[in-house]
């Protein structure tokens, strides 16, 4: 089905999806009755297990094309005269996107981090292909994956903290290894994902997701810095992790064990560097005292008394 052109008159993407659905509904009806004028099957527009509309975010299972058109209509609050308007299942836009993107991850190996993989995901999750309007490029898939991996990592950290066996820097190293482990299954196509992140139109979002990952990692081990250290810690951790990802791209070892060792070595270096920085900041206040001492010496030497 080719993409229909729509006017972007300041309407949200969901409104546009609705318009596309309405335009498409004729086409669907035609296809449904395509076989010799006999209906292929009776499609029930109201799925049997509907629930009352309760307002904000309710995640419901996805249904076929007509039902999702009804859902989106309800979502945009248009007045619907049919009896379906009380019982239509409600699914928010972002949950819908997340569901589709989760399905699309299965197609990344063969189709790459592209809009094709998202299309395959849409088909696999049984949605109308007009939902494609909700996605702009393959980068949406990369961003979803990053977000999902970050939340898994913080869940892992929370669990480890609760168990209390591993502490501090050891926990940080393990969590980063865990996070890298989530990426390794996609190592063959990860180069493409990183390249997409580097494109100018995606750079802001990729920066945000890197900083969010770094922030999650530090908050996960209970970091309480509240000044410039907040920024340096996160930037250094993000740099270390990204270098490990780049290393992974050319790593030929079994199960990418070399990459894990690389990450561990870099983090140990970072640790020693960190302790160096602490001694440096202490020495800064000493420097102030030393400088004022030198000034008073000079003043005494050069005064005429």
């Amino acid at each position: 089905m080719e993409r229909l052109l729509t006017l972007r008159v300041g309407t949200s993407r969901l409104n546009r999806a609705v318009n596309l659905c309405q335009l498409n509904s004729n086409k669907l009806t035609f296809e449904r009755y395509a076989t010799n004028g006999q209906p292929k099957e009776t499609i029930d527009p109201l799925p049997k297990n509907t629930m009352k509309l309760t307002g904000s975010e309710n995640v419901r299972p996805v249904y076929g094309a007509l039902a999702s058109a009804a859902e989106t209509k309800k979502d945009t609050n248009t007045s619907d005269k049919t009896s379906a308007n009380q019982d239509v299942p409600f699914q928010s836009e972002s949950d819908l996107r997340d569901n589709v993107l989760r399905e699309s991850l299965k197609f990344v190996e063969e189709l790459g981090w592209t809009i094709d993989a998202i299309r395959a995901g849409i088909r696999a999750s049984n949605q109308s292909s007009t939902i494609e309007g909700l996605f702009s490029s393959g980068y949406d898939l990369v961003e979803y994956f990053q977000r999902d991996a970050n939340s898994k990592m913080s869940a892992y950290m929370k669990e480890q903290m609760k168990k209390g066996e591993i502490q501090g820097t050891r926990l940080l190293i393990d969590s980063l290894k865990y996070r890298l482990g989530l990426v390794i299954p996609y190592a063959s196509t990860w180069g493409q994902a990183m390249a997409q992140g580097a494109l100018p139109q995606n750079s802001m979002r990729s920066w945000k997701s890197i900083l969010e990952f770094s922030s999650e990692a530090w908050y996960g081990i209970g970091d309480t810095s509240t000044d410039i250290n907040w920024y340096t810690k996160r930037l250094v951790l993000a740099t270390v992790y990204k270098s490990a990802e780049v290393y992974m791209l050319q790593d030929q070892s079994q199960e990418k064990l070399d990459t894990m060792d690389f990450l561990e070595r870099r983090l140990h270096d970072f640790q020693t560097l960190g302790s160096l920085r602490n001694t440096m900041s202490k020495s800064l206040s000493d420097t102030a005292q030393i400088t004022s001492g030198i000034f008073s010496v000079i003043r005494n030497l050069t005064s005429r008394r």
């Binding site: 996107r97 000044d227 907040w230």
Partner: protein, 207 residues
């Protein structure tokens, strides 16, 4: 003074033209918006309390041995407590501190010491100006929180800001009681300081 307030209201009204958010995908969910609001609030409040702490430090450095010394010391101790509270809230709400904290540090000290050098009435006038802006600012934040935040989960934050607003109003009244209005160029001084504070608040919310 009126023009600066109008100008700032116009700047803060341009929510529909947020350029950076149009580079991300969608309208943020309500929880996302609340999170961003709280992040912004904690960032600007921590920067503000640090600046207030440094202002009083500057005033004490000049006027510590005069008769208003104890008053300033008392107000300074309360500001230190405020700062400690916000430092505790930053990891709790996973907020980002302002990257310009060194700037607020230096600027606060310079303001405090500078006005104190003009005399103790001027120092009190500085206190009055700053505390007036801060009180108004906390009230704005409380209004935003009442509208957007979850009243039960974030009750601690709301109560904290209420208490701090009351403390700052008390400092304002203390400043007035200590002959702030007799400072040289009282109107000009307070307007300039208020405008500077509002600009600082605007920048700290974002950077």
């Amino acid at each position: 003074m009126i023009t600066s307030r109008l100008l700032l209201r116009e700047i803060s009204r341009s929510k529909s033209t947020r350029f950076l958010s149009s580079l991300t995908s969608f309208e943020p969910k309500p929880e996302q918006r609340t999170r961003e609001l709280i992040d912004k609030i904690i960032r600007v409040d921590q920067a503000g309390e640090l600046a207030a702490d440094r202002i009083y430090a500057g005033q004490m450095a000049v006027l510590g041995r005069t008769d208003v010394g104890p008053t300033i010391q008392h107000m300074w101790d309360e500001e230190k407590a405020h700062l400690a509270k916000f430092n505790e809230l930053i990891p709790k709400y996973k907020a980002r501190p302002s990257i310009l904290l060194p700037l607020w540090n230096v600027a606060g000290f310079a303001l405090g010491a500078g006005t104190a050098l003009l005399g103790k009435e001027a120092a009190m006038a500085c206190t009055v100006a700053v505390e007036a802006v801060i009180g108004e600012h906390y009230n704005n934040q409380l209004r935003d929180l009442m509208e957007h935040a979850d009243q039960t989960k974030d009750k601690d934050l709301i109560e904290t800001i209420k208490k701090f607003r009351d403390d700052e109003n008390q400092h304002h009244d203390t400043g007035l009681a200590n002959n702030a209005e007799q400072a040289p160029f009282y109107q000009g001084l307070t307007s300039a300081i208020k405008m500077g504070c509002r600009l600082g608040i605007y920048v700290a919310e974002r950077i």
